[in-house]
Amino acid sequence: MIRFVVRRLLQSVPLLIVISLLIFTLIHAAPGGPLSTYLENPNVRPEDIERLRKAMGLDRPLGLQYLSWLAAFVRGDWGFSYADGRPVLDRLVERIPATLELIGVACVMALIAALPAGILAAVNRRFDRVSSVFAVAGISLPVFWFGLVLQLVFAGALGWLPSSGRASFDGGDLLDRLAHLILPATVLAAALSAAWSRYLRRAMRDTVARPFIRAARSRGLSERTLLLHHALPNALPTFVTVVLLDISMLASGAVVTESIFAWPGIGSLFTEALGKRDYAVLMAFLMCGSVAVMVLNLVADLAVHALDPRTREGA
């Protein structure tokens, strides 16, 4: 097991370098640059643009810019934001807690909904039909649209909850934080739980169809024992893979949700940095996102190993 983990970590180093080259090329290929926003102001003259381009080192050849970025990055120097001149690391770190808070709560909510719903749907036809309608609704709602509807209803019409932000500036106690969390977490959790419950239902049904369950049934075990003690453990590997993959997708922030709810996480940092073509922040964000996904992938593989004895010798 340890050898497996070490091998995977070693393999990830060249992959990360390839990824960094790919995203560096991409973000520089996008039209505009850190100086684009300056152009909106007519008082900024072409002379100013030239002066700033030199000052920011943007006049150097791209290859050189990449190499100097890479050299600094591996030494732990992530550079300074083109937008506000602060260290990139500071800008990322101050955003991470908000994202973790939002994603953590959303995933817990989604699991609480998806586990029972998925199991019940696998065995109860009527519940399956009802829940599948809700699941499809959850999957088919555009996140931004659902978020805005929740804002209009719960913050606008009913006035029960704050429409966006992470806390009131003079509040910030637990209740206030929770009140701010509910809507964005619900939006995220809706899509996640819908997808997860469908996967679990599918996985449960497939397991129930296997011979060993048939055998167990013929031994006269109760449906409940059959489901929870025999079918569920066997359905879990696939389910866990999907859940961890989805979570890893969110590790880079829920870009749309954070934008709609003015949530001060790394997702909204990305949106802002992309708009300003803040190359330094974009690179750091995408690299961190990639590393997070790789780590969670590894965890997913380990979890599958741990949960499913049959694959142990397979890989």
């Binding site: 399956d128 609704a137 088919s140 209009l152 749309v256 694959t311």
Partner: protein, 276 residues
């Protein structure tokens, strides 16, 4: 193997009317999209500034938008874009994903390692951010968006298929087939892939909705399908601030997305159940 007969669910599940209705619905949506120029009551770019934001009426069944354009016409033309993005990109994803997943799952350690690390790398780069950047680079057309969304989505299918293949390959009946001297290709095609279909079908049906939604998310950030071209996603985006005053602008494209995903899901379930 018939799944349904072994569970407490009745056998009629796969053959009940719901999937058939869903298939008809999906067919009708595709037909509507194909025949949009013939079916649409108005020209797609016909402006009528004197008749802006008109509520649904006998003349304009779905009402009119900010520029006085017929919403029904735009929903029909939007179907071409959104269905293309949803369906074609899901197929692209499914094909790549199944091929990569099956090869990795059955191809042995080295092949598995290489393919899965590539998958990991593709999966590792945050997807929506990556798409947003790529879309900003390419200023994409509908065809490019289809390809982008498809290329962005195959990794999950690959992972799911691989996990399924690994788990099937370890099973007795596969081992038995191998012991009887069947070639690896034959084992994969005859014994392993059919077992993978349910999982892949679910992943693919989910991908249809995800593709349509991904386009709408890109529209939300201004890098999706660009007006004057209509897609359900960008129509919904444009309707976001008028949801209380002109709800029809949001309701109709929203309902179309909902129906499409619902139909795909039902059809996918039926395929999965029948083959499973």
């Amino acid at each position: 193997m018939n799944t349904a007969s072994l569970t407490s669910t009745s056998a009629s599940d796969a053959t009940s009317r719901a999937p058939r209705i869903a298939a008809y619905l999906l067919g009708a949506l595709i037909l509507g999209a194909v025949l949009a120029p013939a079916l649409a009551p108005f020209a797609v770019d016909a402006l009528d500034l004197a008749n802006r934001r008109a509520a649904p009426s006998s003349l304009h069944w779905f009402g009119t938008d900010e520029l006085g354009r017929d919403v029904m016409t735009r929903v029909l033309f939007g179907a071409r874009v959104s269905l293309a993005i949803g369906l074609v990109s899901a197929l692209v994803s499914a094909a790549i994903g199944a091929a990569v997943g099956a090869t990795a799952g059955y191809g042995g350690r080295v092949v598995d390692d290489i393919l899965m690390r590539i998958t990991d790398a593709m999966l590792a780069i945050p997807r929506l951010p990556l798409l947003m950047i790529t879309a900003a680079v390419l200023q994409p057309s509908v065809a490019v968006l289809v390809l982008l969304v498809g290329l962005a989505g195959w990794m999950e299918t690959a992972r799911v298929v691989r996990a399924e293949v690994l788990s099937l390959a370890a099973r007795d009946f596969v081992a038995a087939a191998r012991a009887m001297g069947a070639s690896p290709l034959r084992v994969v095609l005859r014994h392993v892939l059919p077992g993978v279909v349910p999982a892949a079908a679910v992943a693919t049906t989910l991908a249809v909705g995800r593709g349509i939604l991904l386009e709408s998310a890109l529209s939300f950030f201004g890098v999706g399908v660009q007006p004057p071209s209509a897609s359900w996603g960008n129509m919904l985006y444009q309707a976001q601030t008028t949801m209380t005053s002109e709800p029809w602008l949001a309701i109709f494209p929203g309902a179309m997305i909902f129906l499409t995903v619902l139909a795909c899901n039902a059809v996918g379930d039926a395929i999965g159940a029948a083959r499973g």
